[in-house]
């Protein structure tokens, strides 16, 4: 992993967040919007994991302290929690979208809109 520049994961995270914000703001299809939220979550998770990474570090799973530097365990714990939460959020979003589709027969956010003002 040494040959990967240190900033590369952060750039990837920024790219993911940027693309997902574009999708969330400009796409009309509700499923695409959900995919945008999922990508935003992945971007933030990648950012968290990249924070704790140390070049050449070992996984933080050993009881005895190693000679090599170890990767920070806390961001990985945070990421796991966040992944679990986001699974719940995405499942709920998809459930509600199925309901919206049954009521309005459309997944277009302009056509399935009932409330204005």
């Amino acid at each position: 992993m040494e040959h990967i520049p240190f900033n590369f994961p952060f750039l990837a995270a920024a790219l993911l967040v940027g693309i997902s914000l574009y999708i969330i703001i400009f796409k009309k299809n509700l499923i695409k919007l959900i995919m945008g939220v999922a990508m935003l979550a992945s971007g933030v998770n990648l950012f968290l994991v990249a924070l704790g990474y140390r070049a050449g570090g070992a996984s933080p799973i050993y009881t005895n302290v190693l000679e090599r530097p170890m990767v920070l365990p806390v961001p990985q714990a945070l990421t796991l929690t966040s992944i679990v939460i986001n699974v719940a959020v995405l499942a709920l979003m998809l459930t509600i979208v199925i309901r919206i589709y049954r009521h309005t027969g459309s997944l277009d956010s302009e056509k399935s809109r009932k409330m204005k003002g």
């Binding site: 967040v17 969330i24 509700l30 919007l33 939220v37 935003l40 979550a41 933030v44 950012f47 968290l48 924070l51 920070l72 806390v74 961001p75 945070l78 929690t81 966040s82 939460i85 986001n86 719940a88 959020v89 709920l92 979003m93 509600i96 979208v97 309901r99 919206i100 009521h103 309005t104 399935s112 809109r113 009932k114 409330m115 003002g117």
Partner: protein
């Protein structure tokens, strides 16, 4: 009893959480037992919150370390920083806790008859109790990452509850908007937490506040946190989801959603005052919050004037009421760097804003419940189609009069006591804020007179001949909140001295919050 109070912060979160998962098996056996379980557990939580509040007023900030041999052992032996999850309850948090426990109890009682004809009631109460647990978590936690987790628990259960009545298409739309907005706001919070953790390797608010440097990354984190909580609270210009979500939810849930807005506002205050505190000696952040508040006041009330849907009408009023609190506390934040100004009017402005949270949490859910009661009786939310309901709904009419007089700040009702406190103090900061507040109050009164006249006054309409007074549990729920209003109306100075001034002191006193975590080094 002493050990009950020692463990009360975690019990207040754990009891609704445990009851949430017991609701399903017990509800399958007996409906009455399930209702009793929900009400008794929430009533016990109310008792615990009041006991905790009394303890805090005597002994100061209550710290509870999860998983430690002793709850006050915040920093384990051999560590320099807190590594465990810490619940930290000060006067401000416990005030929010009191509000949340009372409104949650009233909402559960209101739901007993409000959703009596729906399917899947067991799951409704499970979600309601999960939301209660999440809300207490936001208010009591002393740890940034837990703030994110509890924020998500509240959002997920809230969205499911908004979309609960699946037969309505608009309820699905409102629920979807709420969950999308909440997910984006929560991820912004998580990103900001990542930025802070990257620099300081800490997640505890008190420990972070001690070492924070106010670097560029910290400023970005502050902006992300404030914007995220502003979105979640539903402030203008990020309010577009709020009326859609609030107006379609079951009325009892709308009352609770309003308090989650207050909780997000509380989280924003906690971040600004406790986490950044001494670093914010420029008035810029304060002014941004004041401008958000002014915009909310004006846009909320002007949009409310043109509404026909009674729940939507009240949702816009809820936005405009949030504006008052932001203006009050924002003035306190703007002068935070200057101790003289804080003493002369900054603290009074903050007390006004915090007092308005308490008052708003009593009359706004009451008004939402009345909207739900009107929907229950007439089957429509359009108040232009209602008329002459005062002949049939005597209790509801009296409660509506109380609620509308409170929200428009007519003396001697409680809305007036907090608004006058805000007007007096923000006038010294900038007179235009007071003028704006008074104009908005007049518009609020005008719009409520319109609704009152349209829905309650006039001759009895033929289509509402068969309407009866709303079921008893709805009246009990509304009377609980009205009793709170009457109590605050009768003893405003008592309430301000006992709860409001300690709460604003707790926000200003950053050192006390830090010491409660780091002072206990063994």
């Amino acid at each position: 009893m002493p050990s009950l109070i020692t463990h009360s912060p975690i019990l207040i979160i754990a009891i609704p959480l445990a009851a949430a998962f017991l609701t399903l098996p017990i509800g399958m056996a007996s409906r009455k037992a399930r209702n009793a379980l929900v009400i008794v557990s929430l009533a016990f939580v109310v008792f615990l919150v009041f006991a905790l509040a009394r303890d805090i007023s005597i002994n100061g900030i209550h710290v509870y370390t999860l998983g430690a041999t002793s709850p006050d052992l915040t920093i384990p032996k051999g560590f320099m920083v807190p590594v465990r999850i810490i619940l930290e309850v000060d006067s401000m948090s416990v005030l929010m806790g009191i509000i949340w426990s009372i409104v949650a109890l009233a909402a559960a009682i209101f739901s007993l008859s409000h959703i009596a004809n729906e399917t899947g009631q067991n799951r409704f109460y499970t979600l309601l109790l999960l939301m209660v647990a999440g809300g207490f978590g936001i208010m009591f936690t002393g740890d940034l990452f837990n703030l994110f987790v509890f924020l998500e628990i509240t959002s997920i259960s809230g969205a499911a509850l908004i979309a609960f009545r699946t037969r309505f298409a608009d309820a699905q739309e409102g629920g979807f908007k709420y969950i999308v907005v909440s997910a984006i706001a929560s991820l912004m919070v998580l990103f900001a937490i990542g930025l802070l953790y990257a620099q300081y390797n800490l997640l505890n608010i008190g420990a972070l506040a001690q070492v924070i440097q106010y670097t560029t990354l910290d400023k970005i984190a502050l902006a992300l946190l404030v914007i995220a909580f502003t979105i979640k609270a539903g402030m203008v210009p990020l309010h577009l989801w709020l009326p859609d979500a609030y107006s379609v939810a079951p009325a009892s849930i709308t009352g609770m959603l309003l308090i989650t807005s207050h909780a997000c506002m509380y989280a924003a205050f906690r971040v600004c005052f406790t986490l950044y505190g001494g670093m914010l000696n420029t008035p810029v952040v304060g002014w941004i919050i004041i401008i958000f508040g002014l915009l909310s006041m004006f846009v909320g009330v002007t949009m409310a004037l043109i509404q026909k849907d009674v729940m939507r009408f009240m949702s816009y009023h809820a936005i405009s009421q949030l504006g008052y609190m932001w203006v009050g506390v924002g003035v306190g934040l703007a002068v935070l760097g200057n101790a003289g100004l804080v003493d002369s009017y900054g603290k009074a402005a903050m007390s006004g804003g915090i007092f308005h949270i308490l008052n708003d949490a009593m009359y706004m859910p009451l008004l939402f419940f009345i909207g739900g009661a009107l929907f229950h009786c007439t089957g429509t939310r359009d108040f232009t189609q209602m008329g002459g309901l005062a002949h049939k709904l005597k209790w509801t009419t009296i409660l509506f009069i109380i609620g509308s007089l409170c929200i428009s700040g007519i003396p001697p009702f409680n809305g007036f006591s907090s608004k006058i406190l805000i007007y007096e103090s923000v006038y010294q900061f900038h007179p235009i804020l007071t003028i704006a507040g008074i104009i908005v109050s007049i518009l609020i009164l005008a719009s409520f007179i319109k609704v009152f006249h349209s829905a309650f006054m006039g001759a009895e309409l033929s289509e509402y001949k068969a309407v009866k007074e709303v079921p008893r549990s709805m009246i009990i729920a509304m009377v609980i909140l009205a009793a709170g209003i009457v109590f605050i109306t009768l003893f405003p100075s008592l309430i301000v001295n006992w709860t409001i001034h300690p709460a604003s002191d707790a926000l200003i006193n950053q050192g006390g919050y830090i010491n409660a975590v780091t002072g206990a080094i063994p």
